[in-house]
Amino acid sequence: MSTIDVTLALVVGGLFAVGFYLMLQRSLMRIVLGFLILGHGTNLLLLVGGGTPGLPPVLDGASADPDRIADPLPQAMALTSIVITFGLTAFLMALAYRSWYLTGNDGVPDDPEDRRIGTIRERADKDQDTYPDPEPDSGPDAGPADDGTQQGGDR
């Protein structure tokens, strides 16, 4: 029964905190960085979970003494997860670039659906023509639709 390394545990906690903080930002680049750091945190956690660090995972000869050999399974898992994280980070960067290319900024845009729901009553009036619109374009819901980011819910 091995004990856990406190320093490593603290590092894992720190990486998680930083990663989640960055992921809560509105800049896509920071979100990608946050994902990277979170990925490092979890990979480190996998290794910490595998027992005492610093021992060789493979020994020649017949010595399978668990005190002298590191558990290779979490290392294999960490390797797999590093590969996956790497591939997905590349994809995420491409997507962030695409978003920047299309919108011209790096921010996470507002949800057009929110603003569309804000204008739903106005549009229903226009479409059905059942209610004469008393004050066009100045209802309480119409205001937020005009500010902010790009085009709304027409699909």
Partner: protein, 519 residues
């Protein structure tokens, strides 16, 4: 022989995806995809028969035995879901090919076929895998393909939605690795068959923590309310066939994972109040969200979220009847939800918009499409002769049989949700599918200039493609009807599968063959 059967559902689509990346002609790529996706359901059906007659089958990949190597296991549950899921992927592929043919002028995305086959690989692996880490890998394979599919040819709106989808999924994946690390540190293994007894020895608090973390991870992937927010935001932006396959499969794979892990890792003696609450909230809030929508795809996405609650219903009861109901419901819902999205896709392609008020101004898409939407819609609402009724009846009977406040609340919420589903579906059907007659529709205001289908010019490819789309949708709807027709045998298999889940001794002995408890 059985080993080949087990390996093929994962190997075939993976190899197929590799081959489609070669510079083959369009026709060859299509033929390859269709052949692969025809062979896989046939193989899955053979596995189902085998698992039902001879018990669970296991394959230790590369000759490494269970706790160390990669294990593929097929029991009744996984084989049944694999069969239904891969059948759906074939129908959706045909629909997508039809759409591709119909819109010949548009550039056909080269990555569609490889990404789609990789998605099928992930789904198969998720159903067949025997350990927690490979479950994670399967989810990643499946989701990585889905990130690509949801952002193919993305415009601004789809990039935004795809970003949301990707980042939420990645966060849940990160939490999944965290869970695996903690489980491995606590129990020293990730093989599902071994984990049950090992986790039972842990202190109560630690065990509950792991169980909850698992529920959160899978809850995000399954879109259990309040972890569902990404789903109605991202699914509707994708083209119809992609939305259909996501709606049919991705969340169901999540439910399957909940079912598998909660029964194997954290077996309970009685109902599970927390999950019961989540199920009630998911059902009711989801359907209220659906009623508030006026975009047909968003509405269907919300009903999808809502009906995840029905599947949790049975798991929350945690007895044989409940789990039987859940398995039946998953089978029914995979088929029906895909059929709904495809039929809605047909109408949306015709009208050029997914907004219900605008669709109402266009001529209805024809009797056949209207019927193709009506059948799964009625089935989803649980109207008697259809599959939804069978599955809901099984769940409600299970709830009443177990008794207790939680079970009755679940049953009441389920009934209310069914009623509201019927309302939502009726509204969609009357506005979009049974709209006004032809005369009143000319010059509908506010239409996009880029409208695709103002009475499309009948090119030969267009007609052929449209026919293929219609055939694929009809096939899906008929499969839904078949689920109702063969409800008897299906219910028996589901019941035996539920028995297996609650008494996993056979599963354990097959996976851990020749391996004593070592380590």
């Amino acid at each position: 022989m059985t080993e080949a059967l087990l390996a093929l559902p994962v190997m075939l689509p993976a190899i197929g995806a590799g081959l489609t990346l070669l510079r083959l002609s369009q026709r060859a790529v299509r033929l390859l995809s269709v052949v692969v996706l025809t062979l896989v359901p046939a193989d899955a059906l053979a596995l189902l028969v085998l698992a039902d007659t001879r018990g669970p089958q296991a394959l230790h990949v590369g000759g490494w035995d269970a706790p160390l190597g990669i294990t593929l296991v097929a029991d009744r549950l996984s084989a049944l879901l694999l069969t239904v899921s891969t059948l759906i992927t074939l129908a959706v592929l045909l629909f997508a090919m039809g759409q591709g043919t119909a819109e010949e002028g548009r550039r056909v995305a080269v990555v569609f076929h490889p990404a789609y086959l990789v998605l099928v690989t992930g789904v198969s692996l998720a159903f067949l895998t025997g350990d927690l880490f490979n479950l994670f890998v399967a989810f990643e394979v499946m989701l990585a393909a889905s990130y690509v599919l949801i952002t193919i040819d993305a415009d601004e709106n789809r990039t935004r939605a795809g970003m949301t989808y990707t980042i939420v999924s990645l966060t849940s994946s990160i939490l999944f690795i965290t869970l695996i690390a903690l489980v491995y540190a606590a129990a020293g293994t990730v093989t599902l068959a071994q984990l049950g007894p090992r986790l039972a020895e842990l202190p109560h608090g630690l065990r509950e923590t792991l169980s909850l973390l698992l529920l959160v991870v899978l809850g995000i992937k399954t879109a259990i309310i309040p972890l569902h927010l990404w789903l109605p935001d991202s699914y509707p932006t994708a083209p119809a066939p992609i939305t259909a396959v996501f709606a049919a499969l991705l969340t169901k794979v999540g439910v399957y994972a909940v079912l598998r892990t909660e029964t194997l890792l954290f077996p309970r003696g009685s109902g599970w109040i927390l999950l019961a609450c989540a199920a009630i909230v998911t059902m009711v809030v989801g359907i209220l969200g659906a009623i508030a929508q006026d975009d047909i795809n968003r509405l269907l996405s919300f009903t999808l979220v809502s009906h995840i609650g029905f599947m949790l219903f049975g798991i929350a009861l945690f007895d044989v009847r409940g789990l039987t109901g859940t398995i039946l419901y998953i089978v029914h819902h995979i088929v029906v939800q895909a059929g709904l999205f495809l039929a809605a896709g047909l109408a949306v392609i015709r009208a050029g918009t997914a907004s219900l008020p605008r669709m109402a101004k266009w001529p209805p898409p024809g009797v056949l499409v209207a019927v193709l939407f009506a059948l799964p819609a009625l089935s989803l609402s649980g109207v008697p002769p259809f599959s939804g009724f069978v599955a809901k009846l099984a769940l409600l009977e299970a709830g009443v049989a177990q008794g207790g406040a939680a079970a009755y609340c679940l049953a009441a919420a389920a009934l209310l949700t069914s009623l509201l589903t019927l309302y939502a579906m009726t509204r969609v059907w009357t506005t979009a599918f049974a709209g006004r007659p032809m005369g009143t529709v000319r010059g509908a205001p506010g239409r996009l200039a880029s409208s695709v289908t103002e009475a499309p010019e009948p090119q030969p490819g267009g007609v052929r493609g449209a026919r293929l789309m219609l055939t694929a949708t009809a096939g899906m709807v008929l499969t839904g009807v078949a689920v109702a027709v063969f409800a008897g045998p299906l219910a028996h298999i589901a019941e035996r599968a539920a028995e297996d889940l609650l008494h996993p001794e056979a599963y354990r002995s097959v996976v851990l063959v020749g391996e004593g408890e070592h380590r």
